[in-house]
Subunit: 329 residues, 2 copies
């Protein structure tokens, strides 16, 4: 910065002023500064800026790894709306199977960067663990069940989703159903989804076989379990807590001669996977875009004027996407 100042024949303060644009600078000097910046290829150190100013316009995003397209989409959408709102996103993406401690470490990194707000979009870390930060900066749970009175939440209405899904299965005539429920150590949302679907089906009088996954269980394990159930003739439909499980199942099932929906019906959840309609697989499309957008709305307002908003727990329901895989009524 000193170089730029010297080159332009002004003080460092003036350089800072044209950089921030907050204060008026004589046009002629401004141009000289701009030229010097260009010439020297100067890029201000955001660390130093943050340090001196004591604040940041950037917001930390803790998000699950984007191998799962739903998170890829969420990430892209959050990014997009943040940009729109003039906010910078700093992403921390812990490798999924490493679990909660790893996620806390990533959070700590974000705090180290002195972000002005936190968006938590992983399924694993507990709210009780992130509550300690709420006194320092606004924290918003994104796309994960949230009901802590100190943490904002913008997420999917998993109860509504699960109910829609269960009803659809029931209405397609299924009475003996396998329902998978992801481990809470894997995904809070998917766990809630599975539990709720199972409960709804039972209430409707169905015979439900609930499959709880182990911590970070591999796809193949669930698929094998489900295939056994189908072979044993125990169920006529299987509900998966996300589309990837469903896809793995149908792929393997077909390979060994189990046909969908002739031999077994399936339905998943997320609805983000490309080609779902082409594959005739039923699912429920999560309102990812809306959730991303509202998250940015909430956190940007919170960063603007902290405490300007009561704690909210917004939830948005998804849209059922029926397809042949559910069999015929």
């Amino acid at each position: 910065m000193a170089d730029v100042a010297r080159e332009a024949g002004v003080s460092r303060a003036t350089v800072s002023r044209v950089l921030s644009g907050s204060v008026d600078v004589a046009p002629e000097r401004r141009d000289r500064v701009l030229a010097a910046i260009q010439e020297l290829g100067y890029v201000p150190s955001s660390g130093a800026q943050q340090l001196a100013a004591g604040r940041t316009r950037s917001i930390g995003l803790l998000i699950r790894d984007s191998r799962n397209p739903t998170y890829g989409l969420l990430h892209a959408e959050v990014q997009r709306w943040a940009e729109e709102a003039g906010l910078e996103i700093i992403t921390a993406m812990p490798t999924h199977h490493r679990g909660a401690p790893q996620e806390m470490a990533a959070l700590r990194r974000l705090l180290g960067m002195r972000v002005g707000g936190l968006l938590v979009a992983t399924g694993v870390v507990r709210t009780s663990d992130i509550k300690q930060f709420t006194s320092v900066l606004p924290v918003v749970s994104v796309g994960r069940p949230e009901n802590d009175p100190e943490v904002y939440g913008v997420s999917y209405d998993e109860v509504d989703n699960a109910t829609q899904l269960a009803r659809a299965v029931y209405e397609h005539g299924h009475r003996r159903v396998a329902v998978m429920s992801t481990s809470t150590e894997n995904s809070l949302a998917e766990n809630l989804r599975g539990d709720t679907s199972a409960a709804v089906l039972r209430e409707l009088g169905c015979e439900v076989t609930k499959i709880d996954t182990r911590r970070f269980a591999p796809l193949s394990e669930i698929t094998a379990t489900m295939i056994d159930l189908v072979r044993a003739g125990k169920v006529s439909a299987v509900m998966f807590s996300n589309d990837l499980w469903m896809l793995d199942f149908v792929t393997h099932a077909r390979r060994i001669g189990i046909r969908v929906p002739r031999d077994v019906s399936v339905i998943g959840c997320d609805g983000v996977l490309h080609g779902l309609p082409y594959m005739d697989l039923a699912s429920l499309r999560l309102p990812v875009e809306v959730v991303a957008r509202r998250s940015i709305d909430v956190i940007s307002q919170l960063m603007e004027t902290p405490g300007s908003m009561e704690i909210v727990h917004e939830t948005y329901g998804g849209e059922l996407q029926l397809a042949d895989s559910l069999g015929h009524v």
Copy 2:
């Protein structure tokens, strides 16, 4: 930090020492410091650390938005290997359709954070634009064609890929083929892919209809063009420069009664989309994992000891994934 020092009854320097772990500190004092850190929930400011130390262990990643699962996967893999190597990734994800200037702005942000290296994994920004940074820090092009003698490159062997794809089409008996080539403003890699495939097919004696996309053309436009070609009976096969285009095409085609591969054969590229085998769609699987890993290898070595490695342009070929969509030989 001062609070921690006071709480532990040591100087700030000592706190810094236990934080870095670089210098020996008397065990008893170390424990007191650690306890104080815990108690006060202290998280060091990475900005200040960087400022004082003058360096960073973090590397900047410029990557295309993860709506496209291939980039989602690349992102996750880069993240994973970086973690393994003890490096932090700072991600900048410009919204895709905003183009090169936007990407440069994102790059500048990364430089502002004083990252120690740059991984460029977007299809749009030109090498000539990023060359200016090579004198300041190591820059590696990831998953995009690179041949500039000053910039490292770890990418896909698009010529080999395109050749494999074209050969497969030819060997399945197709002689009149439509080949799409993405605009260079959209993706350098896909452009090269398309051009090469077309050239190879022509060399083999095929009648090639090349479709060059406009800048950021919507999916629907390409699909419509291809459908017209098929309806007019002009081609028996269509090559898409990535799987998403292919998927959009087959979905719409089926809707209007065009059957794949009965009426037209198709092949895509990337091979990352979930469910490709289930959909019986032919493609070519890019070695995303390898490219991600090698990129981290290269940049970590470069950051360790700058200039310790000659400029390399590694390329890795993909693996053809045949399927019914290509018709029968």
